[in-house]
Amino acid sequence: MALEGTLRDMSLGDLFQVFRMGPKTGVLLLAHEGERGVIYVASGQLVDAALARGAERSVVAAQDEAVILMLLWDDAAFTFRHDPAIAQRPVRMLHDAEWLVLEGMKRRDDPTQALPYHRITLDTQLQLSPLPSSAESGVSLDVNQWRILSQVASCPNLRTIGNATGMPPDRLTRIVAELLAIGLVEVVPPPRPEPRPRERRDAVMALTNAGHLNPALVGVAAGEVNGTDDVRSQHVGRSLLDAVMRRVRGL
């Protein structure tokens, strides 16, 4: 089995964070148009990398530069396979993953492109990431990154961080993208929507062409359990739940 996806689903920066959190050991293979990248990971650290191009697979970059070039790809298919043998490979990288991610962000015209599933606006709310103990980082932040990081806990969104630091929005967004990319901050999840009022079972049944289902199941599936329309509207006693828990534990 393997971890598979595209960089649109999961950025390279996120993959590096996950390798450290694991910590993971294995090989990350990337395919981007006519290019192929390979990154070797041992105990969560990047140890070697190469970037090849063309049918003959000629190596165009290796180690740090190869990773930075891969960080500039907006999309690529990736596969990460566990391989304990990688732990025996010599370390050829000069810098750690966070340094490389920040370097890649600096080389991008629009660093938010590196985070396709985070839409950063002035209303975006941030929180500090709860870094696991295995994810010690040697990353060195610059003054502006520190200024923003110091405001995250006390400011509800980017707008107020901008007001507090006097930083213009485009610069603020760029630095927040960098902090997100190396996993020091997270976007606060939106609040859960309010459930809309329960519709009558009949209305729900009418929406559903259940004719092809086993008739014995249709009523139960539609909430006709415990002899009522909605078992949750009745009091489900703690003793009943305890009985269910005991049974599940005993399975």
Binding site: D9, H82, R196, L207, V225, D229
Partner: protein, 177 residues
């Protein structure tokens, strides 16, 4: 005979059918049909179009019913149907397929509008060495702090039991408050 209902939901190919098969007392009832879309057929050959159904007999007067929802969004009219009257629900997600996170997020948002029942997230395939860590799954799905994200291996009965117990604890906490 009394019945309690729990719903197992999640995106396409998250492991819902296997989850129910692993824990059910009975041979599960499935409504699987051949997958028609090429990109979906690459993941599996058959998919659930209406529901999966399994039971756990609690005692001679009470059954726990497990209903699995269809994973593909074009069958989402069944979600509302199945969520009605559920004590709680499990949202399953494949820990090795980040491509499914966006769909799972949409599903969670949709379920939140359908029901206020308690839920847990089961991160399937956590037995795989390459599986994404629970903390990352939580972050990407935007799961609130108070909702547990539990490790799961849908083929492993002990693991499935722990997910169900996690959900039952959430339900019990709501009953107590």
């Amino acid at each position: 005979m009394q019945a309690l209902k729990i719903v197992i939901t999640g995106s396409y190919s998250a492991g819902k059918t296997q989850f129910i098969r692993t824990i059910s007392d009975i041979e599960t009832v499935s409504t699987d049909y051949a997958v028609t879309l090429d990109e979906e057929r690459a993941l599996k050959q058959e998919t659930t179009v209406a529901l999966d159904f399994g039971t756990i007999a609690i005692n001679d007067r009470l059954n726990l019913y497990l209903f699995g929802t269809p994973g593909q969004e074009r069958f989402d009219f069944m979600w509302e149907h199945l969520a009605l009257g559920a004590l709680g629900y499990v949202v399953m997600v494949d820990s090795c397929r980040p491509a499914h996170f966006a769909e799972t997020q949409r599903l969670m948002e949709r379920f939140a509008t359908i029901t206020d029942a308690p839920f847990v997230v089961a991160a399937n395939k956590q037995d795989d060495e390459t599986a994404l860590p629970l903390a990352y799954v939580r972050r990407r799905l935007g799961v609130p702090f108070e909702v547990p994200v539990l490790p799961c291996s849908a083929f492993d009965k002990a693991s499935v039991k722990q997910v169900l117990l996690g959900l039952l604890r959430q339900i019990a906490a709501q009953v107590s408050t």
